[in-house]
Amino acid sequence: MRQHETGVSRERAEYLSRRRRRKRRVLGCQIGILAAFFLLWEGLARVGIIDSFILSQPTRILETLLNMSQNHLLVHIGVTLYETLTGFLLGVILGLVIAVVLWWSGFASSVAEPYLVVLNSLPNIALGPVIILIAGAGTRAVIFMALAISLVVTVLEMLAGFRSTDPELIKMARTFGASKRQIFAKIVLPANLSTLFNSLKINIGLSLVGVIAGEFLVSKAGLGYLIVYGGQVFQLDLVMSSVLILAVLAALMYESVVLAQRLAERRWGRGA
């Protein structure tokens, strides 16, 4: 039983305040490191120790970000976001469907195993040129790229989760005469809610990797395109701004998955 905050003992109050202080200190250090990094960068660039033409500098990045409309930054962010989310959703849905099929049929999964292992260890970016030939040099190719990178991982992760479902729980369901469909819907899937979300967290990152790699290759729009373009025309402010936006974007998407997980856990419990 958790004790309520009111009427706690002195030791407990001390313990709680120690924990709060520690939390604040950690946060303070984290923010401090970030601020120090940017200040150092700016300072060194100003005194000329680092070449701001090559490495840019925070004030110039800020300027680039403020002039977003001029360099169509928002459009590029939108393109990258669209491609990543589409690749992510496709990867999750397809991956889940394939994992369910492989869980369902032991035969199919035995057949598929060596293929999955090879596809998983193959750096799928190597397929880039082929994907471009098939899907055309455009958004479609980029989405395919994201899919190529995230799909196999999703399948393997989900399948491993499904398979590691406690066999005793499944036996219990079978004693009531549960069908395979019922076992999946009422035991295997809810028991793997946390596996599902862990796989989503990995997936969102991988989709972004795939999208940026795809944009490097196809180069029409998006943050990946901006990075390559900026590098080629020596507009390093643009490159650094894009990288910065990418970092923020990745963090936001990751946090959305975390938020979705919290909501799902509140709705369906924590799983096994």
């Binding site: 004693t175 809810p190 419990g269």
Partner: protein, 255 residues
């Protein structure tokens, strides 16, 4: 009236490194409302026998009849309780108890009401909306029993259902469960490796031989009316029964 009958039931199962004869020509009958304990050396296929009776495993020979009908698969007439409680952590106690009814698509208002009444009768009313992790081991086992009973079985199979509990909890839960089963009038078959447990609950104790198991002996237990599992442990006959079963079991250990 005989509610369950096993006729020359045999089970062989295939593994990669060979064939295992779990048991051979096992025959016995169980009366309605009776409590039959089954003991035997470990690995003699006691649990497999229950799985066959439950219809989870097809016998390779012979047949099992429940109320005169041959068992071909699982049926709502037979409830099966495993060693672990296997409560689903993401469901409340009530939803756990309703799990069997849900699977059997028998979640009618009457059945739900019956389940709720069972929870109330057996001291779990205040935990209906709680989650399994908030309950003690003994309470969890009681919830698991009520989940099995909520589906309204006529025969209950207990597979070492108390061995996961610590000794003290086990004794009290055994008493509770026994009272519940007698009150609900459920015919019960209990597999156990604990001789005192088999004597304290069983109306008869069936002793199986080592693999391939056969019925070696069936021992009637008599402690008179008003017996409770805990109470009969101090009965003068208890030690006699214990010695008898112990000798029977050790006799086939040496062969």
């Amino acid at each position: 009236m005989e509610i369950l009958r096993a006729e020359n039931v045999s089970e062989k199962y295939q593994a990669e490194n060979g064939e295992i004869n779990a048991f051979e020509s096992v025959s016995f009958g169980v009366e309605k409302g009776e409590f039959l304990s089954i003991v035997g050396p470990s690995g003699c296929g006691k649990s497999t026998l229950l799985s066959v009776i439950a219809g989870l495993v097809k016998p390779t020979g012979g047949r099992v009849l429940v109320e005169g009908e041959v068992v071909t698969g699982t049926s709502p007439h037979v409830g099966y309780m495993l060693q672990r409680d296997n409560l689903l952590e993401w469901r409340t106690i009530l939803d756990n108890v309703l799990f069997g009814l849900e699977i059997q698509q028998a979640k009618t208002p009457e059945n739900v009401q019956r389940a709720v009444r069972l929870l109330e009768t057996y001291g779990l009313a205040e935990f209906v909306e709680k989650y399994p992790r908030q309950l003690s081991g003994g309470m969890r086992q009681r919830v698991a029993l009520i989940r099995t009973l909520a589906a309204g079985p006529d025969i209950l199979l207990l597979d070492e259902a108390f061995s996961a509990l610590d000794y003290q909890t086990r004794l009290t839960v055994t008493d509770d469960v026994y009272a519940i089963l007698k009150k609900e009038g459920v015919t019960t078959l209990m597999v156990t490796h604990d001789i005192p447990e088999s004597i304290s609950m069983g109306d008869r104790v069936m002793i199986l031989s080592a693999r391939p198991a056969r019925v070696q002996d069936i021992l009637p237990i008599d402690f008179g009316p008003q017996r409770t599992p805990l109470g009969c442990r101090s009965h003068p006959n208890f030690a006699k029964y214990f010695d008898y079963i112990w000798k029977e079991l050790s006799q086939n250990e040496t062969t």
